[in-house]
């Protein structure tokens, strides 16, 4: 009979799965909890516990079943829920003081239900304050430090900017305070790894800590994130030193097609088994601290001495453009962040480049113009003033609205640490070096308060 697949085709897939760390980074179940919002704390908590418990348990079983069926590793299982600010709104409206303990109970409940059911992260402890604060938003923001300190899986997000509305600088300053409070409330400041400050946060993002179940989403949806920097790097290296840039673009594009297809297959199967809507595949190749699974070393394979060297922005642009084009051919269910992740501590190549001084906050800010990361998983000295943090966030948000893209800031002020110190964050969060932050103060600028208006791009949207 005719062969179904050439041995080379099978060999290539097996090589990716076995030797190049190709896996499904995350299956994220988006879950609508709007029905749980109540002016009564008991009813709210009971409802959240029941609904999240039911689906978290199902998700765990289904993910194991599908990983077993296809022989593909699924690294993390996550649940993203309706923003907590919405759930807490009825209570917060009555009394902010009463709502704060409820917010903490909500955080602990989400965390406990997640852990009991083998869920790695639960996202949606979120506030949307890009134009102003509601009572629910204020409660969530005030609860974040204690909520993160008393949980291990809870993930928090504050959206402070959008192309449609501009940047809320009051929210940026308050978010900076929350980052520092979280750092002080958790060992090594580790809680900050579960807190991202975003602009243009997408509703269907499968990645933590930015994931939440957006208001435009259906009841139940499955979003998928794939790994794959190792596969892309291997493909680049296989092409050899004489391949020109257009040839490499084509090779990355074809590789991204295959990676994305695997994500789509697994996502659709998990959704089918759960009776959920299949949402999206996030095209971003997600790195891990494992050697050989790094976006930075994929850039180096293109010919850079080290990630961060001059040419890095162009190399990253080439890589992401190819990933997007290959991914777009592979699936019509695109969404999430769909760029490339270069979280410093979580990508061992980025971490090494930061240690060598090649990756700095300035270089990350240059790189964010062509990717969807921002300044992510960057350890900074614990005594960094809040105004400096606010300045960094404002810069990233300005790029987010000027370029009309999703960007985030995840800084980890490490108490007692000085630039150059090594910090072990553990597990998927990796080991990293504490980066130097600029000394010159933007205090007078960041404390003026008010909104930075949206760009003219806003007007073209009607």
């Amino acid at each position: 009979m005719t062969k179904i697949f050439a041995p080379e085709e099978i060999g290539e897939v097996i090589e990716m799965l076995v030797f190049q760390d190709l896996d499904i980074r995350a299956v994220t179940l988006g879950l609508n909890l709007q029905g749980c919002a109540s002016p009564d704390t008991g009813s709210l908590i009971e409802c959240v516990e029941r609904v999240v418990g039911e689906y978290a348990s199902k998700l765990s079983d289904v993910v194991d079943l599908i990983a077993g069926k296809y022989g593909v590793r699924i690294v993390t299982k996550r649940v993203a829920v309706t923003p907590a600010s919405i759930l807490l709104e009825p209570i917060a409206r009555r009394s902010l003081d009463e709502a704060l303990p409820t917010a903490l109970t909500l955080a602990k409940t989400l965390d406990r239900v997640a852990r009991d059911n083998g869920i790695d992260y639960v996202g949606g402890f979120a506030a949307f304050v890009h134009k102003g604060f509601t009572s629910g938003d204020e409660v969530v923001m005030n609860a974040i430090p204690k909520a993160l300190a008393s949980t291990t899986t809870l993930s928090a997000m504050i959206n402070v900017a959008s192309t449609m509305t501009g940047i809320n600088s009051d929210a940026v300053l308050m978010a900076s305070e929350k980052i520092l409070e979280t750092s002080k409330a958790t060992p090594k400041g580790l809680g900050c790894a579960r807190l991202v400050i975003m602009g243009n946060a997408p509703e269907d993002n499968p990645f933590m800590p930015g994931a939440y179940h957006g208001l435009g989403e259906p009841e139940l949806t499955v979003n998928v994130a794939v790994s794959g920097p190792g596969v892309i790097e291997a493909a680049i290296r296989k092409a050899g030193p004489n391949a020109d840039l257009r040839t490499l673009h084509d090779i990355i594009k074809r590789t991204a097609f295959k990676i994305t297809r695997l994500g789509e297959l697994i996502g659709k199967e998990v959704a089918k088994e759960l009776g959920a809507t299949f949402g999206i595949v996030d095209l971003s190749p997600a790195p891990s601290p494992k050697v050989g699974d790094s976006v930075a070393t994929a850039l180096e394979a293109l010919g850079l001495e080290i990630a961060g060297a001059p040419g890095t922005v162009a190399a990253l642009y080439l890589l992401i453009d190819a990933v997007k084009k290959g991914g777009a051919m592979a699936t019509s269910s695109i969404g999430g962040l769909s760029g490339a992740f270069i979280p410093v501590s979580e990508d061992w190549g980025m971490s090494r480049a930061a240690e060598a001084g090649a990756i700095t906050i300035d270089r990350l800010e240059a790189m964010m113009t062509v990717c969807n990361t921002g300044v992510d998983m960057v350890a900074i000295p614990g005594d960094t003033p809040k105004e400096i943090i606010a300045g960094i966030i404002l810069d990233v948000m300005a790029a987010a609205i000027a370029l009309d893209k999703a960007l985030g800031v995840r800084l980890i002020p490490v108490p007692g640490a000085k630039p150059g110190d090594k910090v072990e964050l553990g597990g998927l969060l990796g080991t990293t070096v504490v980066i130097n932050v600029p000394k010159h103060s933007p205090r007078k600028f960041v404390t003026r308060g008010g909104l930075i208006p949206p760009p003219t791009n806003r007007l073209s949207k009607g």
Partner: protein
């Protein structure tokens, strides 16, 4: 349909060991090929579980454990993985 891939250092008895497990469960081999991946012995089989008395999960466990005995790496994947990744 399932793809069974065997990788490792070449030695007598690998093919016999693996196919014995398949035969015991009445699993039919639809396609079989040997090639070299990363310079080491590799055998690729497409097998049909519909005639057999074993599910994919149990077959994987048995084959991986047989592979361990033989000192080779065995991967067992649903054929849809290859269809998704290698066909437009």
């Amino acid at each position: 349909m399932v793809v069974v891939t065997v990788l490792g250092a070449d030695k007598p008895g690998i093919v016999a060991g693996i196919t014995e497990v398949l035969a015991r469960h009445n699993v039919n081999i639809v396609d079989i090929a040997q090639t070299v991946v990363r310079g080491i012995f590799s055998m690729i089989m497409v097998v049909d579980l519909s005639t057999g008395d074993v599910g994919l999960k149990d077959l994987r466990e048995e084959l991986v454990s047989k592979g361990r005995e033989l000192g080779v790496e065995v991967a067992v994947n649903h054929i849809d993985v290859f269809k998704a990744m290698q066909r437009v």
